[in-house]
Amino acid sequence: MSFPAAARRSLADSQLRRNVGKATSTIRAKRAAVVAEVDDWEALRDAGAAIKARAMATLPEQLERLEASVTRAGGVVHWARDGAEANRIVAGIARAHGAREVIKVKSIATDEIGLNDALAEQGIEAIETDLAELIIQLAHESSSHILVPAIHKNRAEIRALFERTIAQGQHLGWEASAIAEAARRHLREKFLTVGVAISGANFGIAETGTVCVVESEGNGRMCTTLPDVLVTVMGIEKILPEWRDLEVFLQLLPRSSTGERMNPYTSLWTGVREGDGPREFHLILLDNGRTDVLADEVGRQALHCIRCSACLNVCPVYSRTGGHAYESVYPGPIGAILTPQLRGLDQAPTLPWASSLCGACYEVCPVKIDIPSVLVHLRGRVVREQKKRSDPEALAMAAVGKVFSSRRRYEAAQRLVKLGRGPLGHLGGPLSGWTAMRELPDVPDQTFREWWRERRA
């Protein structure tokens, strides 16, 4: 479905509008307050952008460093060209341990490659342990926000869902803590009995082979420490060259994402260690279109993203349509530049237009991704690579271009408009969207040029 059509469907859902609007404005205010506390915020953003640029410019070298250091620490590194290859590797590891169930810490990369469905085909059930991920899994829905996947649901909807599924026959009441308790009871049992866990990665450090996951609930920490086997699926762009680089990102990320000075749980692990944590650790390095993105000089900055979701929360489009309108695990402004590049422009050709180019996303991005410029760049690529020259939009713009580039033609057009003025209430065709809610401007008696000449005479 095109973005305008999907957005139209979401915009008609008044409960969703209320839920997403309320949640985004709350996080927006929290972020603004904690960012304002940091005197060197702009310098931190510059540092974040510089580290990411360096990591991407030296990606092959950094990935080999990461492989060597993870291997040295007792982990096993796998390379996956695409989603299917990564899914096969994960399923193979799970099968080798006879697992019928695996537990998962929230991971967008595994959503991107459809890991849960791929495991289900092999008879392995993937259980999401992040509260919001669990909610949408139980509701058979998809994530609508990078950080808060169930942002489109309110408390009453979640309570009803739990009472239908994991807390059947119970009355959970209105207290958020009681509703969360139902999820906790359900998950604790899984943490203690399931032997294989799957995680994503916020950062992978080439220097030390350390993987980092940042979260709020502690459920991720359970996944990365309790089961015997831990499998991490990491997009290759998540690499940081040096350990000290974390200093910058652990300041940028929590303030930008949840509006917290520090996130509650930061898990770091390096390979395996006797008597502590998982006994087997696998790191799957996932490409799935990322090296193609790297080939586009303007578009490649999308790979700098640290998935904080600040751009979603400030976006006037996202905060009204919600995430499902983007039909991707990456919604919002970052999704509008990442999805078409990862999947191919022909798979999401309307997303680069899903923005008024207001610039709010660029203003908050902790690694200074110039999203509006990338959007404009991708629009150009869609037109050049996907559209014919006879496209009505191109023809119309070419015609207007002719009129605007000659004084004679421009003034003739102005006279024509003046002749034709009148009660033009509703336009047809592609312009009907304008007059659905707005009047057309009046044509003045005198054009600016006429007034100017008269004044000088």
Binding site: F3, P4, A7, R8, L11, R17, P316, V317, R320, T321, P352, W353, A354, S355, S356, L357, C358, G359, A360, Y362, E363, V376, R379, G380, R381, V382, V383, R384, E393, A394, M397, A398, V400, G401, K402, F404, S405, S406, R407, P430, L431, S432, G433, W434, A436, M437, R438, E439, L440, P441
Partner: protein
Amino acid sequence: VLRADARQLGLRRAGRRAGRAFGRVFADHETVVSPSASCVAYLREHGAERVFELTEFLVDELGVEDVGASFPHRVAYHPTCHSLRLLKLGDRPLRLLRAVQGIDLVEIDEARECCGFGGTFAVKNADTSMAMLSDKLRHVLDTRAEVCTAADNSCLMHIGGALRRQRAGVRAVHLAEILAARE
């Protein structure tokens, strides 16, 4: 305007043609002043020099804040995205407005949020644009202003068109018209 719209549609050729025409028309002029922040931002991004947005020109180049205008009305100022984030006009428009005699200047809630115009966005994503516009109108109407003003005619055409359709009793007036008023 065309140049920016063509480019944001991804049509570089039409944009280049308009750009050449701009160069021809203004070749003999030392300074170009435009009452459109969005157009100026676009031209400047593409290397145009000595092109100023009106409030920049008045405040920075001429050093004027009180232009001798009088406009005895309740006015809500909408800081458009491109005046705010691309040109970084800051409080220049407000300094000029505050000096206008008789004006009752009021602030709009969520003022920094986009009104939903976005050039062709308003027709290509008409439903989303209207959802954004509805919220902007609500904030404008909440101020009980008689006039909504801005430094961009395009956003004003969008906001003003909806105010007129609703018979809301608020008119959209460009900042330049207020500065020229002697009521």
